[in-house]
């Protein structure tokens, strides 16, 4: 083997940077509780986020019980139903998916994958987690206050969010929700700044941006987007909090409540919708881009093929990130905007399908003639592609103004966004946990339980959400507590609702298998070794597994190649780790000809 010096691969060396020393914990508390180590923080984030996910899962069960068997469960009255909807949606989108992808996977994978010892500001990183935990506690506390949590719907549209009649509107619920969101955003900003600066400024020698694994690209782009999108939600929350507590009229038009004119006028409810969706649409991609990145790495590793069109994949990620800031009003076609806005936003929405389609084609071409290993992470990754394509196709329906108008506020919308940003990212999260659990704990998750979990979740998700498209097309509205007595609802819809509920209970129960697996394998799982998937990326090349404090021992790794050198002709094994010198690549590296 010829040793190829780093310079000959075209890397411009940055001037030497002194190695910033690490904070070393002094006690058990600073090592495991108030830890500044990104890996511990990642586990803390993931544990809290998954716990919130279980709460939100139970809430979805309760909603389904009401929809499937209306009237049977007397404690689920209309108010409770709306509270369950609101809390389920907000928890899943913000406190589970965002926190898990960026706080969980971001913290664990960024420093390891780019060859850093830790995040750039470990102390701020630690604060980020504890502020996130505070936000979660404030949110969960709203279950125990007078009036219960807010029932405004997860979009919190004013004026109804803060008026009498909406659960929590004139009580504590909405206040706690808004405060919790503001606290979350402050905490996230601390973490997000860390993730972005670590990727930009703290990479290992030889790790150029165009050699980074796509997982890092996805998390990096999403973190950057979140730093620009969350401000809109923050401002919206501040203004609504003033409307609720100080009696201002930012979002409150002149209105009559219970026959009495309210002492408000001149506000714009539409303004909140713009602020909310300026955050809300990028948020979809804040969840989706890390999933895109992770799934690229899973597919490449488990199909033993280099990723197809790496450079195109990176630019597609960035293009999607940029475009997602100018599509937000496609959530507002029926809100009473100027029709020309609809024209503009429908166009941008359809344009965003182009980079997305590029990514899907590249995943498929990566699989093409690959040596596909149907491991549990690979099963989840393949399931993601199918599900994402399904959810994306219904997005084309909803992105067009004329098609969207009749479908607005029907179960079709529920089916669409659950497929595309509920089920699809969750499948990637499961795949990623099965993939990286051996690195985090040193032991493999049980394969049999994993396959059981996969098949029930995958098939179950289709049994739940496919029928919802049909329900939406026949006009079943969403967010209705009780549709039992409506004349236009055919009996078949009720049967279908009962079916969906039963499947949802089964799929939910299957998640307990996963939780059991997580704890059981911690003790009894097969010992994994350092690199069980024979993967190329740096996190699998650490001297010890699980990686110790500081990750790399005495010497930082040096990177000689991109992250996708699988099945290189002439190599003596079918993968070449990024830190392995020698053997030039069969395919020219992106950016270097």
């Amino acid at each position: 083997m010829v040793d190829v010096p780093l310079g000959s691969t075209g890397v411009v060396a940055a001037p030497d940077v002194e190695d910033v020393e690490l904070y070393h914990p002094h006690s058990w508390v600073t090592k495991y509780v108030f830890s500044q180590d990104a890996k511990i923080i990642a586990i803390q984030y993931s544990f809290v986020a998954l716990s919130v996910g279980l709460i939100a899962l139970v809430l979805s069960w309760l909603m389904r019980l009401q929809l499937g068997f209306p009237g049977v469960f007397s404690f689920i009255d209309a108010n409770a139903y709306y509270q369950f909807i609101t809390m389920h949606g907000m928890m899943m989108v913000v406190y589970v998916l965002t926190a898990l992808f960026l706080g969980g996977f971001g913290n664990y994978l960024i420093p390891l994958m780019i060859g850093a010892r830790d995040m750039v500001f470990p102390y701020v990183n630690m604060l980020s987690f504890w502020i996130y935990l505070l936000a979660v506690l404030i949110l969960v506390a709203s279950f125990f206050v007078p009036g219960g949590p807010t029932g405004a719907g997860w979009t919190l549209y004013p004026p109804q969010a803060i008026t009498t009649g909406t659960p929590g509107g004139q009580e504590w619920g909405i206040i706690l929700m808004l405060v919790s969101l503001m606290v979350f955003i402050i905490g996230f900003t601390m973490g997000g700044l860390n993730y972005v600066v670590t990727v930009l400024q703290a990479r290992a020698r030889g790790m150029t941006l165009m050699r980074m694994p796509l997982t890092v690209w996805g998390i990096f782009t999403a973190s950057f987007m979140a730093l620009l999108a969350f401000p809109a939600l923050f401002v919206g929350a501040v203004m609504m909090l003033f409307d609720r507590t100080l009696g201002t009229s930012f979002f409150m038009p002149a209105m009559v409540e219970m026959g009495q004119p309210l002492d408000r006028n001149g506000g714009s409810p539409l303004l909140f919708q713009h602020l909310f969706w300026f955050f809300g649409h990028p948020e979809v991609y804040i969840v989706a881009l890390p999933a895109f990145g992770i799934v690229s790495d899973l597919i490449s590793t488990h199909a033993r093929r280099n990723i197809f069109g790496y450079r195109m994949m990176v630019w597609a990620l960035l293009a999607i990130g940029a475009l997602s800031f100018i599509v937000w009003a496609h959530h507002m076609y029926v809100s009473g905007m100027n029709p020309y806005f609809g024209f503009f936003f429908a166009t941008t929405t359809l344009i965003i399908a182009v980079p997305t389609a590029i990514k899907v084609y590249n995943w498929i071409l990566t699989l093409w003639r690959g040596d596909i290993h149907l491991t549990v992470p690979m099963l989840f990754a393949l399931a993601f592609i199918v599900t994402f394509v399904n959810g994306g196709l219904t997005g084309l329906f909803l992105g067009n103004v004329v098609v969207d108008v009749p479908l607005s506020d029907t179960m079709f919308v529920v089916a669409h966004f659950h497929m595309v940003m509920g089920v699809a990212p969750i499948l990637v999260i499961f795949g990623a946990i099965y993939h990286w659990y051996p690195k985090v704990t040193g032991r493999m998750l049980n394969d049999g339980l994993g396959k059981l979990h996969f098949w029930v979740t995958f098939l179950g998700a289709y049994a739940i959400f496919f029928p919802m498209h049909y329900l939406g097309l026949i006009g079943i509205p969403r967010r209705y507590h009780d549709i039992a007595d409506m004349a236009f609802v055919p009996p078949s819809a009720h049967t279908l609702n009962a079916f969906i509920t039963i499947v949802a209970l089964i799929v939910g129960a299957a998640q307990l298998v996963f939780v059991f697996n997580l704890f059981w394998s911690l003790r009894y799982g097969r010992v994994a070794g350092g690199n069980p998937w024979r993967a190329t990326t740096l996190e699998w090349q650490t001297p010890e597994t699980p990686p110790p404090h500081g990750n790399w021992g005495k010497d930082l790794p040096v990177v000689y190649r991109w992250a996708y050198d699988y099945s290189v002709p002439g190599a003596d094994q079918d993968f070449l780790p990024q830190n392995q010198p020698g053997l030039t690549r069969a395919i020219p590296e992106p950016g270097h000809g």
Binding site: P5, S8, V12, A13, V20, T189, V197, L227, S249, N265
Partner: protein, 240 residues
């Protein structure tokens, strides 16, 4: 051996200029922004995020001003002061703006002296900056209490649209909070400069990182940002 080769390549690539140098920096390993420290990069990106916060506030204020059905109060009358029998429109705001812009000047000088390792002058100039900032907040408190005395509340006022008071208290309050935090951190950094923490590379209490004069510059970035935001608030809220 490869490590050796890597260190030797730096001079093999001539200094590029303009867009090429940006491309060269971004295609290099380790750092995308060459010679930019972690703290400075983080502050710049934070300020970008904060720009979005203030933009959202200002755009929301403009929307509220357009959507309200009642006439908007005339800012130059509301913010006029009568001094010695002469009514001067926006006089207090003008003084506040002057004070804040001046504080940016003293901050810039402090950064200059910090890089010359002139401990004494840096500390004095930062202290002056903090005092000017505190004076700004003080004048803002005076302005708030004057308006409150005249009956302006977040939910109503005597001259027109209720959103005038709501936006005024929200936006100037949010900016004032930024200035106040700035003053607080200016004082903390001043103390560290004065005590010689940055000369001795004394470790931070929370972070246990070594102190560095660059903290003065990072502080300066924040301070100039807060001033710049004020220019926009001044233009869009008071002059419009």
């Amino acid at each position: 051996m490869a490590e050796q080769a890597a260190t030797d390549t730096s001079h093999a690539y001539p200094e590029a200029s303009g867009l090429r140098s940006i491309a060269a920096d971004f295609s290099s390993d380790r750092q995308a922004f060459r010679n930019v420290s972690w703290g400075k990069a983080m502050m710049w990106i934070f300020l970008l995020s904060d720009t979005f916060v203030f933009s959202c506030f200002l755009i929301s204020y403009m929307t509220a001003r357009m959507s309200t059905t009642v006439p908007w109060p005339n800012a130059s009358e509301v913010f006029a002061l009568t001094i010695g029998g002469v009514t001067l429109p926006l006089i207090l705001i003008a003084i506040m703006t002057f004070v804040l812009i001046s504080s940016s000047g003293t901050m810039a000088m402090a950064v200059n002296y910090a890089y010359r390792r002139d401990r004494r002058k840096t500390a004095i100039l930062m202290l002056v900056t903090a005092l000017l900032g505190a004076a700004f907040v003080g004048m803002q408190a005076f302005e708030w209490s004057k308006l409150i005395h005249e009956g302006v509340r977040p939910w109503s006022n005597a001259w027109g649209a209720a959103q005038f008071g709501s936006s005024f208290f929200m936006i100037t309050g949010f900016h004032g909070t930024h200035v106040s935090f700035g003053v607080l951190f200016l004082l903390i950094v001043t103390r560290k400069v004065w005590r010689g923490d940055y000369d001795q590379e004394r470790r931070g209490f929370f972070t246990s990182r070594r102190g560095n004069y660059e903290s003065v510059e990072i502080m300066g970035l924040y301070w100039h940002f807060v001033d710049l935001v004020w220019v926009f608030i001044f233009a869009f809220f008071y002059l419009w």
